[in-house]
């Protein structure tokens, strides 16, 4: 069973039954194997390595959607509303980590930008992507108190920073130039909270997977408005708390579960959505 989905015992028993010639047996077994693979939407048997990481968010989604799971499981708090709606129409939810070898990190005074590339070629052509979210983890900035009313009223500085998500749709003419990009989503976030942020990147991913646009990746921009006024150590600490790159992440053990995650919601035209199943059963 190491190479295919049919266990070796089953293969041997069928071949030894003597109903067909060995060639016929092999041919029937291979045909059945193909049907099994097709049923799961696989090209070959998966053989994941020990380093394979299952994001906690996907486990949470499974628990939320599983018909056999705990029905009291609610949607993950950090799940965006657009994603919640999308999940109700999707029957396939996929997660992707970015290609770290292709990341480009730049940190200027008061601004950190990171370019990500997610390889989406494993999404089959027949799967229609209805929504996609880019999830970024950010740690609480130690020493950043929750804003009081006065700081809330005072522009963006003092306990807040802004995260902008862009779709890169062109490369610059010169190496020094910035990539051509369009804004997909933006959010003003509070420094004093540790949580995942979900950004709607559906327009870009839908275009890429439908073949209407070329996947050049995303650019994440983190603006720290007040960084220029800080001492060096504090400024460095603030720029590291949005987990967009391994090099900005001090705890290597937790990086696999804290790194950015792209989640796509799609439907391959076969049957109900995951959420409808749960509602139907309930």
């Amino acid at each position: 069973g190491a190479t295919g989905l049919i266990p070796e015992v089953g293969r041997r028993k069928y071949s030894e039954s003597g109903k067909q010639t060995p060639e016929q047996s092999e041919s029937f077994l291979n045909e059945f194997e193909l049907r099994l693979l097709n049923m799961f939407g696989l090209r070959r048997r998966p053989t994941p390595s020990k380093q394979a990481v299952v994001p906690q968010y996907m486990v949470d989604l499974y628990r939320m959607h599983s018909a056999n799971g705990d029905h009291s499981t609610k949607r993950p708090k950090s799940m965006g509303k657009h994603a919640d709606r999308a999940a109700s129409k999707a029957n396939t939810i996929r997660s992707f980590h970015h290609e770290e070898s292709m990341e480009a990190l730049a940190s200027l005074k008061g601004k950190t930008t990171q370019q990500f590339y997610f390889n989406l070629t494993s999404i089959p052509d027949e799967e229609l992507i209805t929504s996609a979210e880019l999830r970024i983890y950010r740690d609480q900035v130690m020493g950043a108190a929750a804003p009081n009313n006065s700081s809330r009223n005072s522009s963006t500085a003092g306990g807040f920073h802004r995260i902008n998500i862009y779709e890169i749709f062109g490369v610059p003419a010169t190496h020094s130039g910035e990539p051509l990009a369009r804004l997909l989503d933006t959010r003003l976030v509070q420094d004093s909270l540790s949580r995942w942020e979900s950004f709607d990147v559906s327009p870009a991913v839908s275009q890429w997977t439908s073949g209407k646009g070329h996947n050049h990746g995303f650019m994440v921009e983190v603006l720290h408005p007040e960084e220029g006024e800080m001492d060096g150590e504090h400024a460095q600490r603030r720029s590291r708390h949005v987990r967009v790159s391994r090099s900005l992440h001090q705890d290597q053990d937790s990086w696999p579960q804290a790194r950015p995650l792209l989640v796509t919601y799609g439907h391959d035209g076969r049957g109900d959505s995951v959420l409808h199943t749960r509602e139907k059963r309930q």
Partner: protein
Amino acid sequence: AALRKQRRKQQHKASCKRHALYVDFSDVGWNEWIVAPPGYHAFYCHGECPFPLADHLNSTNHAIVQTLVNSVNSNIPRACCVPTDLSPISLLYLDEYEKVILKNYQDMVVEGCGCR
């Protein structure tokens, strides 16, 4: 009366119905790539579809007629005991590229059996 009761019980036992079947993914070696669940209750249908077909056997008009013909001509087989209602399950798994996928698979659990 006791004999009749026992015979009726045996006949009822043998008639088409849903039986327990737990599919443990580790039995077929799929636990290496299916993250959750570790297995699931799939159930299966088994039993006779005897003449005359009872109401609870969820038969179709065709199955009733086929059973009737079988009662006079045994060359024609009885109706088959098959799943009449199936439901999907969600699987969380790693594909061949080590991408994590949550997918809903149709017709994985037998909810009801009948003679068709």
